[in-house]
């Protein structure tokens, strides 16, 4: 089947524009205006941008600190969790939701008093695609994604994160940003300054 090509007529230049290179001058006006503006880049290793709250960075584990959702109250009695420990209930929902389930290594053990206790929660981030499905599946709002994005490392072994790292990371994250409103851009004023105001229609 032959491909149909639609040719569009370009707007023709007027003689004035053609002789005085008006379109050249318009373009060069814009660049010279930009030349005198302030630069908008961040010098990365020296300055770091704080990502928005919905950013999906390295995973963290929230701890039991009294801010749990109601579902945790139901499950709590089956588990042996002290204050300040990960509130994970070892339900494997995150692994079920994950597109690459092999990256989770979750183990729980049965204590002599009949309660369940989390023993191991490892994630191999080499396989993780940071889709965030595990955080949505979590019934107790335990596994979250923090704003840390510098995950490069020199060895493969360092790419596997463990329970205690994740607890620390979540503690740090909650301390810094728990009360922040949930929005995409960190600073709306900054954005409108850089790229202009958005405009909604009137009716």
């Amino acid at each position: 089947m032959a491909v149909k090509i639609k040719y569009l007529e370009r707007p023709k230049l007027t003689n004035k524009e053609r002789i005085l290179f008006i379109d050249f001058i318009k373009g060069m006006q814009i660049t010279i205006k930009n030349f005198f503006k302030k630069t908008i880049t961040t010098a990365y290793p020296y300055e770091k941008l704080t990502p928005p709250k919905r950013f999906r960075g390295t995973h963290g584990h929230r701890i039991k600190d009294g801010k749990e959702p109601p579902s945790f109250k139901v499950l709590e009695k089956f588990l042996e969790i002290k204050d300040g420990e990960s509130r994970c209930v070892a339900c494997y929902m995150c692994q079920q939701a994950c597109p690459v389930p092999e990256l989770f290594k979750i183990e729980a053990e049965q204590l002599p008093n009949g309660k369940k206790r989390l023993k191991r929660f490892d994630m191999n981030l080499l396989n993780c695609m940071y889709c965030g499905l595990c955080t949505e599946a979590c019934p107790v709002d335990c596994i979250i994604m923090t704003d840390e994005y510098e995950t490069a490392s020199y060895t493969r072994a360092n790419c596997v994160i463990h329970l205690d790292d994740m607890v620390e990371r979540a503690k740090d994250y909650d301390k810094r940003r728990f009360n922040e409103p949930d929005r995409i851009w960190i600073d709306d004023k900054e954005r409108s300054k850089l790229w202009g105001q958005i405009k909604w229609s009137n009716n």
């Binding site: 050249f24 373009g27 060069m28 814009i30 660049t31 010279i32 930009n34 030349f35 503006k37 302030k38 630069t39 908008i40 880049t41 010098a43």
Partner: protein, 336 residues
Amino acid sequence: MELLGVIVGISLKALIFIIGMFLGAAYLTWIERKFAGHIQQRPGPLHVGYHGLLQPIADALKVLTKEDLVPDGVDKFLFYLASLMAFVPAIMILAVVPFGEPFNIFGLEIKPYITDLNIALILALAFGSISIYGVIFAGWASNSKYPMIGGLRKAAVLIGYEVALGFAMVGPIMQAGSFSLKEIVEAQSSYWFIIPNILGFVVILFAILAETGRTPFDVQEAEAELVSGYNTEYTAMKFGLFPLAEWYIATFVLSAIAVILFFGGWQPFPLLGWLPIPGIVWFFIKVFALFMFFLWVHWTLPRYRVDQITELAWKVMLPLALANIFIVALWVIIVG
């Protein structure tokens, strides 16, 4: 013995010019990168030295110590020769460009030029156009499709614009009555030759952009189509010589020639002659302004197609240059 003295003296002078041009070209890369950065609202090189002032030196060290790959199947001799053939003629133009009048320091007369020939302009044009072989042979020797196409495109562009450039230079030559760049500058003591030669100046702007492969005319290394054009197969310093020769040295030297032809060389600006600034500084201010203009154009405009470029050369620039000759002839008859 006298002969030896003269030869050593001229060689020393040439060496000073060449080393100066090398360092100058290195810092022109810094200026270009800063300028390009700020035009795109980013700071450019920033961390090596104060505002990246040592960046050119770091870059030079990097380029010099890189591994020098020569691909299999290239014509080895031509491959090496081509990078030199692009670079050497560009720097040879310096031999005929005067940077100012002779001046005295500690009783020593210093001439800020290597020679003052009576055919300087023709030689400058000849050296400028002979560097085309570097590009064509680079394309041919690489034994690869993209460099070949790049080299041929450059040849097509150069053939067209060399003619326009030559004709555009005729106006100032007619007014000064000499090919010598020094005499052309001296003839402009009352008014600059830009006044009747405005068409010629426009042609020369386009021709310099095309000769040095700056952006509206950079078809020979169009990244989007030809990877990197004629220098695709080159590495390390052999690669570094091409942009150094074309983008920096050739642009700078050709802007110097344009300043000499149209803006009165080392004559001061009109109404500013009372300032205690030596001529050589005026000259560099003008050359630098023109160079910055080329950078500005380079970082603003998108690329023309090949057919548009050749069409522009033959259908617009050449008639404009001829019209310029006619206007200047009338001017010479009427004004004198």
